[in-house]
């Protein structure tokens, strides 16, 4: 394994609340809203990489919509026989997994050059993801400001010590019905939690509540239609795909940060790039180039492979496959069950600028033995 593992046991527990002790500490130590490392790229080249274009995203979105509608028609046509299963398999992944990458890229505003196109796909994909579009726009902004900073990042998928049962359940989408859906109903009733209020500006609270009401209205209408039709079919097409189609989103997305460092300000230490097959890359819109995305979030998904080629000399070697990445991660999360400070520190190539050890060790003294 081309990695060095360090870590020890301190007995200190991480507080992942966004309004707790870790939050205060992150602000006091300068970890919150810090300046992050990025590889030097000439302005002219970066400007060219950042350029927006409607073409690739229109092509991909038309194909996406055609596949969604096509698989839905097949699933409806064969409803009641086993022949509907393959159509639901395709429909589920498109609805519940590929919508995550569309939500993400359009939330950044980098998919299309035309703003309304980004906004339209963002709203649709947010609904498919069972995510409040207003709340999640802000939580994702925070994720980019304070990536895997404990007490600040609202989108840490696997906390320490890892909850393996929860991670496993996330493949089934059950957690969306345990947390996301009740969360939308709560917001629709006009209640935001203190944590949500910590990253959503007050002027956006009402927008978040109104957005939740629209989502809830569609779910209630779908449930009503299912009762009227005395059929599960409407629920299999709207909402239900979270249960049977989320697995690909979790399979690819879990690898973004799991097992790597927290409380550092260098994405090479806390984020992972993994080479993937073309189908997964299309579903995931190239977010397998995740170090590159975090370092330069303005670069559209279709330019990430070029950015990767340009800066890979300065990054840890990417995992050659998802299988390789999970093999790397598994022993790390197992060890984190007992030693939550344990993490995987990935080796840099000789051509890379070194990690700023003194800075990171100062902030997380528990990270080195």
């Amino acid at each position: 394994m081309s990695a060095v593992e360090v870590g020890n046991k301190t007995g200190s527990k991480r507080d992942y609340s966004l309004v707790g002790e870790s939050t205060k500490r992150a602000v006091e130590t300068g970890l919150a809203s810090a300046e992050w490392y990025h590889t030097d790229v000439p302005r002219k080249v970066m400007k060219e990489l950042m350029q927006r274009s409607d073409g690739p995203a229109i092509r991909d979105t038309l194909l996406w919509i055609a596949l969604i509608l096509g698989s839905a028609v097949g699933a409806i046509w064969f409803w009641g026989s086993w022949w509907c299963v393959p159509f639901f398999v395709v429909y589920g992944v498109l609805y519940a997994s590929s919508s995550d990458s569309r939500w993400h890229e359009c939330g950044h505003g980098t998919a299309f050059r035309t703003r309304w196109m980004n906004d339209a796909v963002y709203q649709i994909a947010s609904f498919m993801q069972m995510r409040n579009p207003v709340q999640w726009r802000w939580s994702h902004a925070r994720h980019h400001t304070d990536t895997i900073i404990v007490g600040r990042d609202a989108e840490i998928a696997v906390m320490r010590p890892p909850d393996l049962l929860r991670a496993l359940l996330s493949f089934t989408g059950l957690l969306d019905f345990r947390y996301s859906l009740p969360g939308l109903f709560r917001q629709a009733a006009g209640r935001l939690t203190d944590e949500e209020k910590s990253y959503i500006p007050e002027m956006e609270w009402l927008k978040a509540i109104v957005a939740a009401r629209w989502h809830v209205a569609i779910y209630v209408a779908t449930a009503g239609l299912a009762i009227y039709m005395r059929s599960f079919l409407p629920l299999m097409l709207i909402g239900g795909p979270r249960l049977y189609g989320t697995w690909h989103m979790v399979l690819t997305g879990l690898l973004q940060h799991i097992g790597l460092a927290d409380n550092v300000t260098d994405h090479r230490l806390n984020t992972r790039t993994v080479y993937m097959n073309p189908i997964s890359r299309w579903i995931y819109w190239n977010m397998n180039y995740h170090v590159e995305h975090h370092m330069f979030p303005m670069v559209p998904y279709h330019a990430l492979p070029r950015l990767h080629e340009l800066i890979k000399h300065d990054l840890p070697a990417p995992n050659p496959s998802m299988w390789h990445a999970y093999k790397e991660v598994w022993p790390v999360v197992l060890r984190q069950l007992r030693y939550e400070d344990y993490y995987l520190k990935r080796e840099l190539p000789p051509t890379a600028r070194p990690y700023k050890e003194e800075f990171h060790n100062l902030i997380i003294p528990a990270a080195a033995e």
Partner: protein, 104 residues
């Protein structure tokens, strides 16, 4: 008391681009529009204090490099989440091939 300060040579900024200008402990962004006009704003995004000079200029919009917050750099208007606070703008003039901005 306002004063005109020399920010850069007109050719230092490419068309539809932006550069950073630091002066007296403050940082500014100097823009050249696709119509070959020059503009100046505060240099840091009002959302998370990121240098806008690393961002992308598209028509009359500057997009922050960190969270893609968008401002109209001609008026300073914030164009929606995650930016809510407008950007301060400064008068600009060209003098002998130099971009001058008027500061307080």
């Amino acid at each position: 008391m306002s004063e005109w300060v020399e920010a850069c040579a007109a050719d230092d900024v490419e068309e539809e681009d932006v550069i950073r200008f630091d002066h007296a402990g403050r940082t500014f962004a100097i823009y050249r529009s696709p119509d070959d006009e020059y503009f100046a704003t505060d240099g840091l995004c009002t959302h998370e204090k990121v240098h806008l000079a690393d961002g992308l200029v598209m028509d009359d919009i500057i997009e922050c490099p960190k969270h893609n917050g968008r401002f109209n750099y001609k008026t300073g208007a914030a164009k929606g989440a995650p930016v809510c606070v407008n950007l301060r703008t400064y008068p600009v003039k060209l003098e002998a091939g130099m971009v001058m901005i008027q500061l307080d």
